[in-house]
C-alpha cells in the first residue's frame, strides 16, 4: 500500500505544531467567512495570496484548504439561521434548514449539517486520497491535445451547463479568457491588449479581478438594494443534541449525499449545485415524512445536501491536484497560488511535491475534526458574528479589498483597475451573469492556449490532431453533448408534449 504509506507521511507533516496552527487559522477563518454574507472562500484566498511570498507552500495550502472546507461548514449556519444562502451550494440547505429553524428546531438542523459535513468531508477526503494516485496514473498518458480537449470540456461545463443560461455563462467565460490574454505572450514575447500601458505588460493580477468581482462588485450590488428587504436572524432554539430518530433519519441522507457529491465534484465538470439538488430531490422522494418538506422543514433535506456539498468540495480537489484543472472559482485561485510558487499542478505533482500534496490531504482530515468542534460546541460565537450590521460589514470588506490589492504593488493603477472591474462585476450581478467563469477563464485560458500550441507543434500544424486521438475525441464529444444536450433534450420533450 504505497498510498497508505504516503498518507502516514502526510500526517507526520500535517501534525507539526506550525502546520496545525495554519490548519486551525484556516478552518476558523473559513468558518467566519462562510458565516458572514458577502465573503466567500474565493475572495478570502485571493486576498491572502500575497502570503505566498512569505510562507512555504505546504503551510500556505494547508491554510487555503482550511478556508475552503471551513467556508462550507460556516455557509450552512447562515443559510439555516438567516435564510440567505451565502453561496449557491447552500441554497438547498436554506430551503429546509430555515423552515426547521423557524419551527424551533434550529439546533437539530445545525447539528445534522455539521455532523453531515464532517462525515462527508472525511469520506470525501478518503476518496481523494485513494482516487488521486489512480487519476495520476491515467493522466500521465495525456498529451497536450488531450489536455486541451479536457480544458474545453471544463470550460463548457462551468459556464454553459452549471448556470442558468449558456449564453451568459459563456460570455462571462470569454471575458475571463480575454483578461487572461492581456500582457506579454510568453511563447512569442509579443505584447497583447496592453493599450500601450506599461503596467499591463505583466498581465492583470488575478487578485485584482477576483477581489473586484467578488468584493467591490458585490458591495455595489448589495448597496443598490440594501433597502429592499431586511433579513432577520432566527434565534438559535432547540437542543444541539439530535434525538435518536433524528440520527436515524440523518445517516442515510449523509451517505447518499456523499455518493452524489464526491463523484460529481471530481468530474472535470465540478460544481456543488447539481449534487445538492440531486440529493435534495432524492431525499424528498425517499423520506418517510414527505409532509414535512416545505412545511415545518425535514431534517433529511438538510442532512443530504449539506453532505453532498462538502463531499463535492473534496471531489473538486481531485482534478485540481492531479490534472491542474480547476472547476470552481476557489480552486482556480488555488491554482494561481501554485503558479506563484512556480509549481505546475499536474500528474507530476504527486511525486515531485509529495510532501505538499499528502501533507495537504492529511491536514484536511485534521481540519474536519477541528471544524466539527468549531461548528457545534462553539456555534454561539458564529451566531454572534451574524449580528454584525451590514453597513460596517461591507465597509470593512472594501477596506480589506484595498489592502489586498494596493498592498502588493502600491500602485494606484491597480486600485483603478480593481474599481473598474468592480463596476463590471456590479453590472454582471445586476443582469444575472455568473462571475465564477470569469476567474476560471482567466486562469485556465492561458493554460489552454499553451496546450493548444504544443499540440499543434507536435502535429506540425495539423488541426485534426484533436479528433484523431481517441482520448481527445471522446472528451470533445462529451463537451459537445454537455453544450448541446440540454437544448436537444428540451426540444425532444417539447415535441412529445
Amino acid at each position: 500500500m504505497e498510498g497508505f504509506h504516503s498518507l502516514l507521511n502526510g500526517f507526520a507533516i500535517a501534525l507539526t505544531p506550525i502546520n496545525l496552527m495554519w490548519c486551525l487559522v484556516g478552518t476558523t477563518l473559513g468558518t467566519a467567512i462562510g458565516v458572514l454574507p458577502g465573503l466567500g472562500p474565493a475572495l478570502t484566498i485571493a486576498l491572502l495570496l500575497p502570503i505566498t511570498f512569505k510562507v512555504e507552500p505546504t503551510a500556505a495550502f494547508i491554510l487555503f484548504a482550511g478556508i475552503y472546507y471551513g467556508a462550507m461548514y460556516g455557509g450552512s449556519t447562515t443559510s439555516i439561521l438567516l435564510n440567505t444562502p451565502g453561496e449557491s451550494a447552500s441554497i438547498v440547505t436554506s430551503m429546509e434548514g430555515n423552515k426547521m429553524a423557524r419551527n424551533g428546531r434550529a439546533g437539530a438542523a445545525l447539528a445534522t449539517a455539521a455532523i453531515g459535513s464532517f462525515v462527508a468531508g472525511t469520506l470525501g477526503t478518503l476518496g481523494l486520497a485513494f482516487l488521486a494516485p489512480i487519476v495520476v496514473d491515467w493522466a500521465l498518458k495525456f498529451g497536450p491535445a488531450d489536455y486541451f480537449s479536457l480544458m474545453l470540456l471544463a470550460f463548457v461545463t462551468v459556464s454553459a451547463v452549471l448556470g442558468s443560461s449558456a449564453i451568459r455563462g459563456l460570455a462571462a467565460l470569454f471575458f475571463g479568457i480575454w483578461l487572461g490574454l492581456i500582457g506579454i505572450d510568453l511563447q512569442t514575447g509579443q505584447a497583447r491588449f496592453t493599450f500601450g500601458l506599461q503596467e499591463l505588460l505583466d498581465g492583470i493580477n488575478v487578485i485584482v479581478v477576483a477581489v473586484g468581482l467578488f468584493a467591490v462588485g458585490e458591495t455595489f450590488y448589495m448597496a443598490s438594494r440594501a433597502h429592499t428587504g431586511e433579513d432577520e436572524i432566527t434565534p438559535l432554539k432547540g437542543s444541539l443534541m439530535m434525538t435518536k430518530t433524528e440520527w436515524k433519519r440523518s445517516i442515510g441522507p449523509w451517505l447518499r449525499g456523499t455518493l452524489f457529491g464526491f463523484p460529481i465534484g471530481a468530474m472535470p465538470a465540478g460544481g456543488a449545485e447539481i449534487p445538492t439538488f440531486l440529493s435534495y430531490y432524492t431525499e424528498r422522494k425517499l423520506s418517510k415524512y414527505p409532509e414535512e418538506f416545505g412545511t415545518v422543514g425535514a431534517i433529511e433535506g438538510v442532512a443530504g445536501p449539506e453532505a453532498a456539498n462538502n463531499a463535492s468540495a473534496a471531489g473538486v480537489l481531485v482534478p485540481m491536484l492531479t490534472l491542474g484543472l480547476p472547476t470552481s472559482a476557489t480552486s482556480a485561485i488555488m491554482l494561481s497560488a501554485f503558479q506563484s510558487y512556480g509549481i505546475n499542478p499536474g500528474p507530476l505533482l504527486l511525486t515531485s511535491q509529495a510532501n505538499l500534496v499528502w501533507g495537504l490531504i492529511a491536514s484536511l482530515f485534521i481540519g474536519n475534526v477541528m471544524l466539527l468542534v468549531l461548528n457545534l460546541p462553539l456555534i454561539g460565537l458564529w451566531v454572534k458574528m451574524l449580528k454584525i450590521p451590514a453597513p460596517q460589514l461591507y465597509a470593512g470588506i472594501l477596506v480589506f479589498a484595498t489592502i489586498g490589492t494596493y498592498g502588493i504593488t502600491q500602485s494606484p493603477i491597480d486600485l483603478v483597475m480593481l474599481y473598474l472591474i468592480g463596476g463590471v462585476g456590479y453590472f454582471m450581478r445586476r443582469y444575472d451573469f455568473p462571475t465564477a467563469p470569469v476567474i476560471i477563464g482567466m486562469i485556465l485560458g492561458p493554460l489552454a492556449e499553451q496546450n493548444f500550441r504544443q499540440a499543434m507543434t507536435i502535429s506540425a500544424g495539423d488541426w485534426t490532431v484533436f479528433f484523431t486521438r481517441p482520448l481527445s475525441l471522446t472528451i470533445l464529444i462529451l463537451a459537445a453533448l454537455a453544450l448541446m444536450g440540454p437544448k436537444l433534450y428540451s426540444l425532444a420533450t417539447r415535441k412529445t408534449a
Binding site: 500575497p50 502570503i51 512569505k54 443560461s165 449558456a166 449564453i167 451568459r168 459563456l170 460570455a171 470569454f174 471575458f175 479568457i177 480575454w178 490574454l181 512569442t188 509579443q190 497583447r192 491588449f193 493599450f195 467591490v216 458591495t219 455595489f220 448589495m222 448597496a223 443598490s224 438594494r225 440594501a226 433597502h227 451590514a390 453597513p391 460596517q392 461591507y394 465597509a395 470593512g396 472594501l398 477596506v399 480589506f400 484595498t402 489592502i403 494596493y406 498592498g407 502600491q410 494606484p412 486600485l415 474599481y419 468592480g422 453590472f427 445586476r430 443582469y431 444575472d432 485560458g445 489552454a448 492556449e449 493548444f452 500550441r453 499543434m456 507543434t457 500544424g461 440540454p486 437544448k487
Partner: protein, 175 residues
Amino acid sequence: MSTESPSSGHTGVARGELFFALGSLALAIVVLWQTMEIPVSPLYAKVGPTVVPMITSVGLLLLSGALLYSACRGGWQPEDERTTKPDGVALLWVLAGLVLNILTIGPLGFTIASILLFTCVARAFGSRNMMRDAAIGAVFALVAYLGFAKALNINIGAGLVENTIESVFFAKTGR
C-alpha cells in the same frame, strides 16, 4: 442557441439589458480591433499570438449578438428583478468612497484613505452616525495596517498617521 424562455410576459425592448448587450458588443469590437493590431512574425505563422485572441473576439462578438437579440425580445431578467429599482444614492456613496480612496491613499496614506472609504460605504448601507463609523474605520484600518506591517512585514502604504505611530511606539525598531 438561446436557452431563454420567451414567455416572461415581456415582449418589448428591455432597456437595461439592451445597454448591457451594447456594452458587451463594444468590448467585443475593441478586442477584435486590438487583435488585428498584434503584429505577427512569419516565424510563428503556425499558431501565432493571434489565434486564440481571434477565437476569443469572435466568441465575444457572437455572444454579444445573442444578448442583443435577447434584449430586443424582452430581455432575460425575471419580472421581480426588473421592477426593483437600484438605489442610486447608495451607489453614489460607494462610488464616492472609492474615488476618495484612490485620491488620498498616495498622498495621505492608508489609514486616512481607509477611514474615508469605510465611512462612505457604511453611509451607502444606511448608517447615519458618520462620526462613529469613522472611528470604527480608524481602529479597523490601524489594526490591519499594523498587522500587515509588523506580523507579515508587508508595507501597505504608509502616510502621515502611520509614520507618527511608528515614531512614537516603535521608535526602537528604526524606520
